[in-house]
């Protein structure tokens, strides 16, 4: 391993590492625009200049690999002066749009200007005009004037998605970012270009002007959009209800996890957050034969608890949207304490598109978790039993029977079953078939874990309190159990997780601490294909 000196600090890194990465390891941040660890090196912004001893000119640290005995200075006068000059150059044609620009608050031009620029302006305000506010695709808006031509977005479309929609045309001052003639930026991952654009040239049409970024709170979570389980951050705000009425979540952003999603998430997942605040079931309801009417928790728990006593003919279908904690409580209660045999898991959504990058066809986050806890995929068997009139009580976790089975079959089942209980978070047509409706919280409102398709257990964190009277599934089951005299002494999800780890050998050695930011793989999960993008492309080292 070559050893080099960066600002007087010795550091050994693997051969082939670039200076910028070595510096990061040594704890020195080198400002940069075009360099992105997930993309190839372009070396066109010149922001990362450093002085390497014995070489006559300053060098770009993103491109130069380390060598043994190298001595690098990142903070001397020559470097500082060069950075200042580069910034001045980059800002020559940059409009001072900051009050309007959605990037304001997250913009590297602003940040670097304050940290490394602060030069006397020599500007005479005859800037080259370019196109502004161009919708270049369904999700992305382009402002040519603000672009610093770092080419990150171009490389993203070339290297990651391989769809080649974007390019830089013209030369010099007139160079401009654009989409290829007749094309749109509409690949399944287009939102990522907004994340990697260091300035406000590409903005998210979904998020634009909805909320200034400095008002946002951030909570780490896992995307529930498919079984990949991409690491995300939920950006939310509830202090300003007048800005976005009845909407708390403003956007989702990917969180770097080299083992799962690297730096990216798909658009499907990125824009899949509206359900958190829309069409929610806010309070328990009861079907009086014609309509659903509001009921109290007391009513549901007491009148509904007979449902649980009639064990012979009770069937339960859990969903794969809920956390491992919820599933394990369901297992404890229904299988261990009540001995129900007719219990199965069933994803609430039909399978969808899958590709070589991240998206998986299973569009729910915890199917593997349900399997690992021993739930079986025999929902169809249960539905057939129900059709034959052999099921009196059917407990569903958010499933839309009409969607899954078709209207006719769903209605038939609803007629044959005496009492259908539906525990779910979002309203849909299928919910009306149930006799009891119990409101549950969504993933952003609870603590817990999901297990992704390769058996990685990852944490989700509670961002804000549950809407209306809804509660986490484990809590609902626990209270219900209490009404029929079964004590499930678990106060929060971390206690449940601990108990689950003790009870299920596959989870051996796990704890919320150990899961941390990147999650832990289940003991018996296979090694194949893990942590790489599925096309086997070289995994980037962080």
């Amino acid at each position: 391993m070559p050893t080099l000196k960066i600002d007087g600090k010795d550091i050994a890194v693997p051969a082939g590492t670039s200076i910028i990465e070595a510096a990061k390891k040594a704890g020195t941040f080198i400002p940069h625009y075009c360099y992105h660890p997930g993309l190839s090196v372009a070396g066109n912004c010149r922001m990362c200049l450093v002085e390497v001893e014995k070489s006559p000119k300053l060098q770009i640290s993103c491109f130069i690999p380390v060598a043994d005995g190298m001595v690098v200075h990142t903070e001397n006068d020559r470097v500082k002066e060069a950075r200042e000059a580069v910034l001045e150059f980059l800002l020559v044609n940059h409009p001072l749009d900051c009050p309007v620009c959605d990037q304001s608050g997250e913009c590297e031009l602003q940040n670097y200007y304050m940290n490394y620029g602060l030069y006397e302006s020599r500007l005479f305000e005859d800037k080259v005009k370019k196109e502004k506010v161009v919708p270049i695709g369904p999700t992305v808006m382009l402002d040519g004037e603000r672009c610093v031509l770092c080419s990150r977005c171009v490389r993203f479309c070339d290297e990651v998605t391989g769809t080649h929609e974007m390019g830089i045309v013209n030369r010099g001052d007139h160079a401009e970012i654009t989409v290829a003639p007749g094309k749109e930026l509409d690949n399944a991952y287009s939102g990522n270009t907004v994340d990697i654009c260091p300035v406000g040239a590409l903005t998210d049409r979904d998020f634009r002007f909805k909320c200034r970024v400095w008002f946002l709170e951030k909570t780490s979570s896992i995307c529930p959009g498919c079984s990949r389980g991409c690491n995300i951050e939920i950006h939310w705000n509830k202090e300003r209800p007048y800005q976005t009425p009845n909407e708390r979540v403003m956007r989702l952003k990917p969180r770097v996890n080299p083992e799962v999603n690297q730096w990216w998430i798909c658009d499907e997942g990125r824009y899949n957050y509206h359900f958190i605040d829309q069409n929610r079931v806010l309070y328990p309801m009861k079907n009086n034969g014609k309509d659903l009417v509001q009921a109290s928790w007391q009513e549901v728990m007491e009148e509904g608890s007979w449902v649980m006593k009639e064990l012979q003919n009770t069937a339960v279908i859990v969903s794969t949207d809920v956390t491992l904690e919820d599933l394990w409580i369901a297992k404890e209660l229904f299988i261990h304490k009540l001995g129900i045999q007719t219990i199965a898991y069933l994803p609430t959504k039909k399978s969808g598109e899958e590709d070589h990058l991240l998206r998986k066809s299973d569009k729910t986050p915890n199917t593997k978790g349900a399997q690992a806890l021993g739930f079986e995929a025999k929902a169809n068997e249960i539905f057939s039993l129900a059709e034959a009139g052999k099921i009196k009580t059917l407990i569903l976790f958010g499933h839309n029977l009409i969607d899954l089975l078709g209207k006719e079959r769903a209605q038939k089942i609803a007629e044959k079953v005496d009492s259908m209980v539906w525990i779910g978070s979002n309203q849909h047509e299928g919910m009306n078939l149930a006799k009891w409706i119990i409101p549950s919280s969504v993933y952003a409102e609870k603590d817990g874990t999901f297990m992704n398709y390769e058996g990685r257990v990852q944490r989700i964190f509670k961002a804000f309190p549950a809407l209306g009277e809804s509660k986490a599934e484990w809590q609902i089951l626990k209270e219900w159990a209490q009404h029929i005299g079964i004590n499930l002494p678990y106060e929060n999800s971390s206690v449940i997780f601990e108990k689950m780890v003790q009870a299920e050998s596959a989870f051996n050695g796990m704890s919320y601490q150990k899961l941390g930011e990147e999650g832990v793989l289940l003991n018996d999960s296979k090694d194949e294909g893990r942590g790489t993008m599925d096309d086997g492309r070289k995994k980037h080292v962080l």
Binding site: C98, P99, V100, S104, F209, K210, F215, Y242
Partner: protein, 197 residues
């Protein structure tokens, strides 16, 4: 105990000041009341005397003015609000207004800096897309709750577009309910109007 220590420290500071450690401060010691002052009744009469002297002097002078005498001597003047209004200094911070562009649209681009800086959290803005790409962003809704505003003027100072000012010279901000204290964008753009009041 803690209190004693605090008092001690306070006395020490006074001592330092009294002994000239701190220069440039004019110290006035509190005057002890005399016996007559402390029994209060004489002081009360003294007060009544002063008040009535002014009262009768003013009545006399105002009557004289009415009759056309003693014009040179001024009597106490009050402003007959709301018939008369007082002139304010131009720099006084009065009710907010939003500045318009030439075509009458608001100059505000909903950057929300004023909302961010406002210490009373009384500005509520909703941003929207402007059809003109050179403007790009516009305030769709802009409310200020004057019931909360502390007239600090930070919002004016922070605005990068010079879109909000407090130069309307309107100070009579009163209403019968909290809701009426809320200025909407229309009223802010046309400061003379008062829908609510």
């Amino acid at each position: 105990m803690e209190n004693d220590a605090a008092i001690g420290a306070y006395e020490y500071t006074c001592y330092r000041i009294n002994n000239g450690f701190v220069k440039g401060i004019h110290l006035v010691n509190r005057k002890e009341l005399t016996f007559l002052e402390r029994i209060y009744i004489f002081e009360a009469f003294k007060g009544i005397l002063i008040t009535s002297t002014h009262f009768f002097k003013n009545i006399f002078l105002h009557t004289a003015h009415l009759l056309g005498f003693l014009k040179g001597q001024s009597a106490a003047v009050t402003i007959q609000y709301p018939d008369e209004k007082r002139e304010y200094a131009p720099r006084l911070r009065t009710r907010h207004r939003l500045v318009q562009r030439e075509d009458g649209s608001p100059r505000c681009v909903a950057c929300m800096l004023c909302e961010t800086v406002c210490p009373a959290k009384c500005i509520y803005i909703i941003a929207g897309e402007d059809p003109d790409p050179n403007i790009e962003k516009v305030a769709k809704k802009f409310d200020i709750d004057l019931g909360k505003c502390v007239y600090c003027g930070f919002c004016v100072e922070v605005c990068p577009e010079d879109a909000i000012r407090m130069d309307t010279q309107i100070m009579d901000i009163a209403a019968y309910s909290r809701e009426e204290m809320l200025l909407d964008m229309d009223e802010l753009l046309h400061p003379g109007s008062r829908k609510n009041g």
